[in-house]
């Protein structure tokens, strides 16, 4: 008979962000039902943003006194708090960059915001989870929300297909994950990460099977982070999904999934690191190569960014391969920097794609610098950050990742990864070339002023990118302190 039948206050405090977001989501749904006029509905976005900011504050406050909650279902340590704050921040920018799009597509319903909020709840659960079961549920919340978001414009065939592919393959991969969980449970008799670790350390269970279980779980997670060879779904899904959603998917669930990956493999499967490090090594390299090289030939910018996001997952995997606190810190920083950069890039794409996303070919950006110098400049900042040019967050991300890799004596992986960044420069530059070196085509004639929300989103992400590039220490110190040992 467990003593803590009723959770204490501090435990509620530790999941305060999730609670805020859930309530906010429910409220939005209610308002959706009540508010009928357009300008009443204008409240959704600000409200959700407010809720998210509140949650952000709460999560930062919660980071104040770390510890477990709800009989070790959750653990609020630095790592968790970092990622929780990150995904919430991602949510803010995602919502800001969506409003304009929804208005344009005549489907600005409250559900959208509710979905975003709930999926963030899911991601918060993921990153704070200390139990495979919590991880699983959080993952599912986030995923199901993502499936729906990917197909949000249900009259658009591209959305449907994107949603269907994401959904089928996603649940397919989840099944593998679950099977792995089942095996781990069977072999160690627990689903709590720490207990699993200790069980594996005593190494009573047959390690081969533990390895197999780890492998199955890796499949499930690698799918979520779109690591090769499980990346196949990403380009199609990102291309088909609404632009802002694609931006959100490429960072939010991905960051959360990476958080899980790091936590599970560094905590629970730490003892059998020798078994899984090689495969992560291979996956990292394969992912970088597949992402960068396939991106070379893309003409659709969303698809190109999708491949690029695959490549970046590869870089983070390099940090994971390092399997050290430095590595995990590097991964955390990288994900943060990448989040700002990519959200910004997708926000600009959202802005330029216009109704029905007619203009998503790279050539449609021709001469943007003449028509919209500000937007062009911002997008180039994001692209330079994706390339990894100094004074942008992307650069320091790469720097820390490869530093960690060299710490772990992964010389070959580092060299190949660095060369990959050079390759990557090519396709990002192509976009800059089109924006600056080409004469503007008539496709830019119909370009109207970006909405206020989108502007904020773009400028905030640009600011974040640059701040992370010029004063990386602020974030990195937090990450270093929060890193998993």
């Amino acid at each position: 008979m467990p003593v803590n039948l009723f959770p204490t206050g501090v435990e509620y405090f530790r999941i305060l962000p999730e609670m805020i977001l859930t309530i906010a989501g429910v409220l939005v749904m209610l308002m959706e039902a009540l508010f009928t006029t357009e300008d009443q509905r204008k409240i959704f976005a600000p409200f959700s943003v407010a809720a998210l900011l509140a949650a952000l504050v709460a999560s930062i406050a919660a980071a104040g006194d770390p510890g477990a909650a709800f009989s070790n279902m959750l653990i609020i340590d630095g790592f968790a708090s970092f990622f929780r704050a990150l995904v919430i921040a991602i949510g803010v920018i995602a919502i800001l960059s969506s409003t304009e799009y929804l208005r344009r597509e005549k489907s600005s319903g409250g559900e959208y915001y509710a979905l975003i909020l709930f999926s963030i709840v899911g991601q918060c659960v993921m990153v704070t989870a200390n139990e495979l079961i919590m991880i699983f549920i959080g993952l599912e919340i986030s995923s199901i929300a993502s499936y729906v978001l990917a197909g949000y414009l249900r009259d658009d065939p591209r959305n449907n297909e994107s949603a269907l592919k994401y959904f089928l393959l996603g649940s397919f991969a989840t099944a593998f994950l679950l099977y792995g969980v089942a095996w781990i449970y069977g072999l160690t008799g627990t689903t709590n990460l720490d207990h699993i670790r200790s069980a594996l350390e005593t190494s009573t269970p047959p390690l081969v099977l533990a390895g197999v279980a780890a492998a199955l779980m890796f499949v499930g997670l690698a799918f979520k982070i779109s690591a090769a060879p499980f990346q196949v779904w990403a380009p199609d899904v990102y291309q088909g999904a609404p632009a802002p959603v694609a931006g959100f998917l490429s960072v939010g669930p991905k960051a959360a999934a990476f958080a899980i990956l790091l936590r599970v493999f560094m905590t629970a499967f730490g003892p059998i690191a020798a078994r899984w490090e090689p495969i992560v090594w291979i996956c990292a390299l394969a992912t970088m190569i597949v992402g960068n090289f396939a991106a070379l030939q893309q003409s659709n910018i969303k698809r190109m960014l999708a491949y690029s996001s695959i490549a970046h997952a590869g870089y983070v995997l390099v940090a994971v391969t390092a399997h050290s606190d430095v590595g995990s810190a590097a991964a955390m920083f990288y994900l943060a920097a990448y989040a700002f950069t990519n959200l910004g890039a997708f926000a600009v794409v959202t802005y330029l794609s216009r109704k029905g996303e007619r203009y998503v070919a790279i050539d449609d950006f021709a001469g943007l610098s003449e028509r919209q110098p500000a937007m062009a400049a911002m997008l180039s900042i994001f692209l330079l950050s994706l390339i990894g040019v100094p004074l942008t967050g992307g650069f320091f991300g790469k720097f820390y990742v490869f530093k960690a890799a060299l710490d772990a004596n992964l010389y070959w992986l580092t060299a190949l990864g660095l060369l990959n960044t050079a390759v990557a420069a090519y396709y990002y530059l192509r976009l800059v070339v089109v924006m600056y070196f080409r004469e503007p085509g008539d496709s830019l004639q119909t370009l109207e002023d970006p909405g206020i929300g989108l502007k904020i989103a773009v400028y905030v992400s640009a600011l974040g990118t640059l701040v992370l590039g010029i004063f990386p220490g602020w974030v990195l110190d937090i990450a270093t302190r929060a890193a998993l040992k």
Partner: protein, 528 residues
Amino acid sequence: MTLLDAVLFLPLIGFLLLLAIPKGSPGQSRMAALAISLLIFVVSLGLAVSFRGGTPDGYQFVHDSQWISSPPIRYHIGLDGLSLWLVILTTLLTPISVLASWKHIDHRVKEFYAFLILLEFGLIGVFVSLDLFLFYVFWEVSLVPMYFLIGVWGHERRIYAAVKFFLYTMAGSVLMLGAVIYLYNRAGTFDYAEILGQLQSSRLALGSQAEMLLFLAFFIAFAIKVPLFPLHTWLPDAHVEAPTAGSIMLASVMLKMGTYGLVRFCLPLFPNAAHKSAPWVIALAVIGILYGALVALVQPNMKKLVAYSSVSHLGFVVLGVFSFTQQGLDGAVYQMLSHGISTGALFLLVGYLYERRHSLEISAFGGVATPAPNLGIVFLIATLASMGLPMLNNFIGEYLVMQGASFGNYTATVFAAIGVILSACYLLWLYQRLFYGKTSESLSHHMPDLSGREWAAILPLLLLMLWMGTYTQTFMPAITAQNTRILDQSQPRVARAKQPAAAPALSEVRSSEARLSQVRATEVTNAR
């Protein structure tokens, strides 16, 4: 907050100011850019005036403060005899580039000058940063504005050229980044001086293989920038497509980033590897000298010709650097500056011709000296300087380089000297085809003589050619003093105690080196 900080950050401020100028007022932006660049130049002269070089490690105007706590990346800048003149070269050539693009940059003027000034920021940063990481940051930062300068304001095939330029350099520099990180992981710091100290006191001992790999990582990045044969193919494209100002900055300053890196990093940090690979490098350098000259000989396009001539001239620099002699190193550094001046002037004048005729083909000209005698004379002087005529700047550098190289490797010197003959061939032939002969009707109408603005831009360079050629003591002492240190640092580590194995004359040189360098240093200090 030293004078150097001011020189470094004034461009950045200027860049922001230029961005602040309202759109569609080209006149304003031109004037502003000119004013800013001139101001920077004047301030930078302050560096030369107050430069002592007396400090034991030769650095002055040092500013060392933390940028990022962990990893400990420091904002550590300083000036020594090596970087002093390179910085001033940069600040001098920026206003000249501004003047050079006065007329023929007519669209997006503001952005053009903004990028130009930003480029200056990056370049100065490269030359003054004493923190490997900071150096890399500036190295990359300087890449971006040049990329835009070529890509937006260049000629027909500008996109290909710009992308090629960017990727080529990028490919080289990522490996350098890897090497930098590795050094950090081993030494626990990015600070150049500290790493050097650890290496010298062998507190940080690199295996010979590791050292060679690190050396290569740095060397390739620099060699691409120099550019050293056979990594040079980006240069002709970049030059031909770049606008005049771009070519000037590219040839005069950016290429020096590479050679500067060789002197500053490759030699002192990895002396064993440097010595081991010296024969190969020298071979490449000499090939580059001859190859560049021969290919320049047959170029139908003025800018391509000058570009290949740069390949040839920079070969001399590399030759001097890897001769590991005082003369060679001094000559190399002096040649960097000279090449900056004379090739800058050549590109400027080619730009003048282009503005008049809107063609870069040599065949489009002929007999220009008749309608535009002053242009002819000025061009002649630049040409002579570039072919290393005594009493003009390049001669000093080339002579010292070959003199130094002859101590170690006389054969290489012989081939290099052949390069000098060839330089006369292609330059004189170029001059003959451009300025001599009968003047065609169509040409004589489009060939006004030099305007006041054009005089203003070219005159400083001409005077410098004469000055640097006739009275080197203005520049040499600082350079020599620093090079002596670098040479001392880059003696093979294992054999620090005994003299390095080399020609007896060379060793005699070495011993006298030390003595003289001290004499020089004291002289310099007393002179102030």
